[in-house]
């Protein structure tokens, strides 16, 4: 009865939610709009919202200055590669913690999370030296490994909470049918775990895509991803809002689109087992 809301209440909800939604989204919308303005329009007072001469000039200038595709490609490789490696390592670990828990499982899990608290700036110098020794500076491999490591705790944690939701009875049934451990993983667990893994993959790609400390400090020309692309636009000479907006839009567009297309999985993935 109470859930049987009137249209009037629904309307109020709608207006309120849309208002808040647009407010939160506004900075991004404004950036995208500004990227199509001229520099002079970008700083006009009063601000121009929609009615201006739309131009693609900023995108042309940005592309001329730095080859977007190369940065994009590096971002894709590094974010994708680190996620792939991370999943390879994390799935078995999370599986065993979820289905063969021991007294220390929770401690191990919390310890893993605590490694994420190591401040990156504090260990930059050691990592830099190690990278020099191993010839990994400015290589996609090195960056992939580092990003895999920094996000590994989160991946394991997410997968663990997912796997725990899979009822143990199914496994026991499979075992009674004589399934081996490998078969158990391949034919019983994997299909059930796919949605969870998908969400984890998504979240990890976003985190790796946006990581801005290691990606900037460990790369030069060859492995520089979009975070480095942006670092050359933070304050060029003179008016630059429109160019900054264009570069920003280019940097966030791929991940924004990916996120929007997969938001259902992502929303599920973000719950971290907060809900049973």
């Amino acid at each position: 009865m109470a859930r049987n809301v009137t249209n009037q209440r629904k309307l109020i909800n709608t207006v309120a939610a849309w208002a808040v939604g647009l407010l939160i989204f506004f900075p991004i919308l404004w950036t995208i709009l500004t990227s199509f303005k001229t520099e002079a329009t970008a700083i006009a007072d009063p601000p121009v919202f929609l009615f201006f001469d739309w131009t693609l000039d900023n995108y042309r200038v940005v592309q001329e200055r730095s080859d977007y595709m190369r940065f994009l490609w590096n971002s894709v490789i590094i974010a994708g590669g680190s996620t792939f490696l991370g999943i390879l390592v994390a799935v078995p670990a999370a599986w065993s913690m979820a289905f063969v828990p021991s007294a220390r499982t929770k401690d191990i899990l919390l310890w893993m999370l605590s490694t994420k608290m190591l401040p990156a700036v504090g260990v930059l110098y050691p990592i830099y030296l190690i990278f020099i020794k191993m010839g990994l500076l400015d290589s996609r491999v090195g960056l992939t490994i580092v990003l895999m490591l920094i996000n590994l705790p989160i991946i394991i944690w997410m997968l663990y909470t997912y796997f725990r939701e899979i009822p143990g009875e199914i496994l026991e049934a499979a075992r009674m049918d004589g399934a081996s451990l490998k078969e158990e993983i391949l034919y019983v667990l994997t299909p059930m775990a796919i949605p969870g893994i998908a969400s984890t993959v998504l979240l990890n790609i976003i985190l790796a895509w946006n990581e801005a400390f290691w990606t900037l400090n460990l790369t030069a020309a060859n492995a520089a991803p979009l975070t480095a692309f942006i670092a050359s636009y933070s304050s060029p000479e003179g008016l630059f809002y429109a160019k900054l907006s264009a570069a920003s839009t280019m940097a966030i567009a791929p991940i924004l689109i990916l996120g929007w297309f997969s938001q259902k999985q992502l929303v599920r993935g973000l719950t971290f087992g907060a809900v049973k």
Partner: protein, 439 residues
């Protein structure tokens, strides 16, 4: 499980080889770290000229914002990372790094490069023990840029060599806050290369200095107090809002929009504020020497963004070719051909200032040259000092110290503390850091 582990290893290996397979054996690839300012970006657009002459050399650019660039190249050279073949660095880094033998000497650049043509002030700043360690790409001092129309409207005239009192009077007369015209725009953003560059140079003209001959910090002196008090007074009364976060770029943008009456900053800005494409006040800009206080020193600095080759580079010869090209007279001519004489990188070569095509296209040429020539990095202050550098002190600790001092001064400009408090903290932290460094 062994299958799985093997798979892990295999995929890691696959990734590794994929990453390493890109090196080409025929061409040398130079990785060039550079700053994202107008002249450098322009150079990137003109590199076809270089690669056409040197088909066996490919160029990779790492263009970064100034602060990021400094951090990256310093980190790389200090740890001997060898990521870059050419670095864009300034007159602050060159003497320090050169003395450590971290840079390749450029004394053997080809004769056509004409080292004797480099302005003596610039050449001196980039030379350590007779070895030239970096080639200046463009050089700058600082000077007063002002709006002729506003001065005229106020019934005033700017002398070619103003005093700080002239500046104060002009700032007061030009300020019209309702019309969003602020008499004076100065750097307020914290950083050794931002507000401290300006304030250190200004302090020199007030008779202040960073250290006495025993390396004792001098922020507790009256001269520093007078410097900071006057600076705060100027900015609070006649400066734009939010001045404490304005650096070079922010002020340039304000000036181009016609919101500043005066701007005391780098001479390279002159070509940007007089460029009608970007500047709304292009035809109204006048120039004057940086102000003095009658003590014999002007508040103008000396700086050159220069190209240097780190000793860790494995393509030194190719890098030298590139450096020679980018800092040559031919490059200047190339820019002039493509972008006009007013846009060539200024402040490095005597021949440029003897070139009539340039001096007639660039109304600021003479003032720039005079400013550069009046800066003296060996004797920057009124009193003797143990260091070189006008707006910096060429010791490795300076960048860290001055950035922190700059934050105190910036906080004072934001009204969060008084000049006295800021100076007290500056004195304490400088003393502390110098002790830590073993002075």
């Amino acid at each position: 499980m062994t299958i799985k582990t093997a798979f892990c290893a295999a995929s890691a290996l696959a990734l590794a080889t994929a990453g390493g397979a890109f090196a080409d054996s025929h061409t040398t690839t130079l990785t060039i770290a550079t700053v994202n300012n107008g002249d450098m970006v322009r150079m990137q657009g003109l590199t076809e000229d270089f690669t056409a002459k040197n088909p066996d050399i490919a160029l990779e650019w790492v263009t970064l914002e100034e602060n990021v660039l400094r951090q990256r190249v310093t980190q790389d050279i200090a740890a001997n990372g060898g990521q870059f073949d050419v670095m864009t660095i300034g007159t602050y880094e060159v003497p320090i790094w050169g003395a450590q033998d971290w840079l390749v000497s450029l004394n053997d650049l080809p004769a056509e490069w004409d080292a004797d043509d480099i302005l003596p002030a610039m050449r001196g700043g980039l030379t350590v023990d007779g070895e030239l360690y970096a080639a200046p790409f463009y050089g700058e001092s600082s000077m007063v840029m002002y709006r002729k129309d506003l001065m005229e409207a106020a019934g005033m005239e700017m002398p070619d060599a103003p005093t700080w009192d002239d500046i104060k009077a002009a700032a007061e007369a030009m300020t019209d806050k309702d019309a969003e015209v602020y008499g004076i725009c100065l750097r307020g953003k914290a950083g050794w290369g931002e507000n401290m560059a300006f304030l250190s140079a200004m302090a020199n003209s007030y008779g202040a200095r960073w250290f006495d001959e025993e390396w004792k910090p001098q922020f507790d002196t009256d001269a520093w107090n007078a410097t900071l008090t006057d600076y705060l007074e100027l900015m609070n009364n006649y400066g734009p809002p939010g001045a404490s976060t304005n650096g070079f770029n922010e002020n340039l943008s304000l000036f181009q929009q016609g919101k500043c009456g005066m701007w005391i900053d780098a001479t390279v800005a002159a070509s940007f504020v007089t460029n009608p494409q970007d500047s709304t006040v292009a035809d109204q800009v006048g120039f004057a020497l940086a102000p003095d206080n009658g003590l014999g020193k002007r508040g103008n600095w000396l700086w050159a963004w220069s190209l240097a080759i780190p000793a860790g580079s494995d393509s030194v010869d190719a890098a030298k070719k590139f450096v020679a090209w980018a800092t040559s007279k031919e490059y200047t001519a190339l820019v002039a051909e493509n972008e006009g004489w007013a846009n060539v990188p200024p402040g490095t070569r005597t021949s440029l200032y003897e070139n009539e095509a340039y001096t007639s296209a660039a109304p600021f040429a003479e003032m720039t040259l005079n400013s550069i020539n009046s800066a003296d990095p060996k004797n920057p202050a009124v009193d003797p000092v143990p260091y070189t550098g006008v707006q910096f002190v060429a010791i490795p600790e300076f960048a860290g110290i001055a950035t922190q001092v700059g934050q105190e001064f910036s906080a004072a400009l934001a009204g969060q503390q008084t000049a006295e408090e800021a100076l007290e903290k500056a004195q304490a932290l400088t003393t502390d850091e110098m002790e830590a460094a073993g002075y």
